[in-house]
């Protein structure tokens, strides 16, 4: 029971990071039907940004976080503008291959500039571990969970309550109708990339604090897992991405806890296959119902 509680805490912390990343995949997919393979690398760049502003500019946690959010949002907008926008009317596979290319560019560019070495992330916040009835929970874990939940709530408000959020929903269900009511497609797509990349930037700083180490290829595996989380939740569904992220986090720590660390990635993919067999559209995926 105790280990179960402990794994629950660890799984939720890790899961909240996957959830933040999965949101970016799902929003971008929702709006332009592109699997943005470079998304994990934006998360890596967010972590490196945090590393530099904390080390060089002595930012505290809050400022490192906020500046990483802004930096990654701008980066996401730039990547969309130069890499994906020119391909808007090309076959989907072209954009997909371009996304893989952008991913390689960011990974290899960063390796070239900063070497492939792992760096230790500066610990701006001293880790304190609390003991609660046999469970260990660190202030970093609480911070990750709290920040992630706060950001997801904020995102939910933006999507549900703001004009830009309504534009995003309209474009994702029917781009043509969206244009006919006066929605600017380009602005809406840029805004979506900004939001998704902002979440990835935040996740990058949080993972730096949690695992202490960063490197230019750190985005690959979490990127794929977050993508799996988005698919399990139902790609295009915002609540689905959050739930999927937590699910993958819990699964991974759970598998580790029962001594199968070596298979944790395999288990994630196995669950993906099973869920897609049972629920092809994912947990929150909508069965398309439209009357003609």
């Amino acid at each position: 029971m105790q280990t179960f509680g402990q794994q629950l805490i660890n799984g939720l912390s890790l899961g909240s990071i996957y959830a933040l990343l999965a949101l970016g995949y799902t929003m971008v997919y929702g709006i332009i039907k592109l699997i943005n393979f470079a998304h994990g690398d934006i998360y890596m760049l967010g972590a490196f940004w945090g590393y530099y502003v904390i080390n060089q500019l002595h930012f505290n946690f809050i400022w490192a976080m906020l500046s990483a959010i802004v930096f990654c949002a701008i980066l996401g907008v730039i990547i969309e503008y130069f890499a994906y926008r020119p391909l808007r009317h090309s076959p989907r596979i072209t954009a997909l291959i371009t996304a893989i290319g952008v991913s390689f560019l960011l990974e290899n560019g960063m390796t070239y500039l900063f070497t492939a070495n792992t760096r230790s992330f500066p610990q701006v916040i001293k880790t304190v571990t609390y003991h609660l009835g046999g469970l260990r929970i660190s202030n970093i874990q609480l911070l990750i969970l709290g920040t992630a939940c706060l950001l997801m709530l904020l995102l939910e408000l933006i999507i549900k309550r703001t004009k830009m959020g309504r534009a995003m929903r309209a474009v994702s269900v029917d781009p043509e109708a969206a244009q006919l009511v006066g929605i600017n497609l380009n602005h809406t797509i840029s805004f979506t990339f900004a939001l998704g990349s902002a979440m990835a930037g935040a996740a990058g700083v949080l993972i730096g604090l949690y695992y202490n180490s960063i490197d230019p290829l750190m985005g690959m595996t979490p990127g794929i897992k977050a993508f799996v989380a988005a698919v399990i939740g139902g790609i295009g569904s915002v609540p689905g991405a959050s739930v999927g992220g937590f699910l993958i986090g819990l699964l991974e720590t759970g598998v580790q806890a029962i001594g199968l660390s070596a298979y944790k990635d395999a288990v994630v993919y196995f669950v993906l296959i099973v869920i897609l067999l049972v629920l092809p559209a994912g947990i929150f995926g909508k069965k398309t119902k439209e009357k003609v």
Binding site: K163, R166, A167, L180, V181, G182, N184, K291
Partner: protein, 234 residues
């Protein structure tokens, strides 16, 4: 109010619209009739700024708009009710109407706009909290029209509003188009249901293979034997 001059529109190498000319005067109902694939929707998409013409001009209120982006067209007072309704599924009826007022800043008058729409279409008021996807085809058509009205258009473009509807719905839709026009909105009506369309239109144009073949008042075209043969089952 709107004039289209020597309009040419392509899909890749295929020329869908070949030097089309027509005009709409303020206050009129003008109809554009033609068979499947004649190019009717292509013309509407070009006016709405979703497609760019290869050449030719679209002049609206003394301004050339053929290169103007879609949101600016809506802002200028041209709203389109697209073929196949294109309502937003997953959004409620009221949210769909709200999307129609996306560009409006005059919050106070928007409340009035809902009232006007609900007056034209009382059924939408009953269903306002329901997911738009659960409406019947006829109700969805009404919603698409209501959504366009929310922008308070000066010119309304309707693309085959009677498509797939039962006769009773068709009559209702045409009555409402007339009422909307009587309330001061100019109408460009695209139809395959030529009989109905010509009977409410001031003037009409017959489009075939991307070219205007005939034009005249509604009554003239109704009486025209070529039109009767091709489009009126006569």
């Amino acid at each position: 109010m709107l004039s289209v001059k020597d309009l040419v529109v392509n899909y890749g190498a295929i020329q869908a619209i070949k030097k089309v000319n027509f005009e709409i005067h303020t206050g009129e109902i003008v109809t554009l009739i033609g068979a499947n694939g004649a190019g009717k929707s292509t013309i509407l998409h070009t006016i709405s700024g979703i497609m760019r013409p290869v050449s030719g001009q679209v002049t609206y209120l003394d301004r050339q708009i053929q290169r103007v982006a879609a949101p600016k067209i809506v802002q200028a007072g041209i709203s389109q009710v697209p073929e196949g309704r294109h309502i937003f599924p997953g959004l409620s009826v009221q949210e769909n109407l709200q999307m129609g007022a996306f560009l409006r800043k005059d919050r106070r008058n928007i409340a009035q706009a809902y009232e006007d729409v609900y007056n034209y279409f009382p059924v939408l008021k009953q269903r306002r909290h329901q997911d738009a996807a659960t409406l019947s085809g006829g109700e969805q058509q009404m919603l698409a029209m209501g959504r366009a009205l929310m922008a308070k258009p000066k010119l309304m473009l309707l693309d085959e509003p009677s498509m797939g509807l039962a006769p009773i719905f068709i009559n209702e839709i045409f009555d409402i188009i007339r009422a909307i026009n009587a309330a001061g909105t100019t109408v460009l009506l695209i139809e395959q249901n030529a009989n109905k369309a010509l009977s409410i239109a001031n003037r009409g144009y017959v489009l075939a293979s991307g070219e205007i073949k005939l034009s005249g008042t509604g009554q003239e075209l109704l009486a025209n034997t070529a039109v009767q043969k091709a489009y009126l089952g006569g």
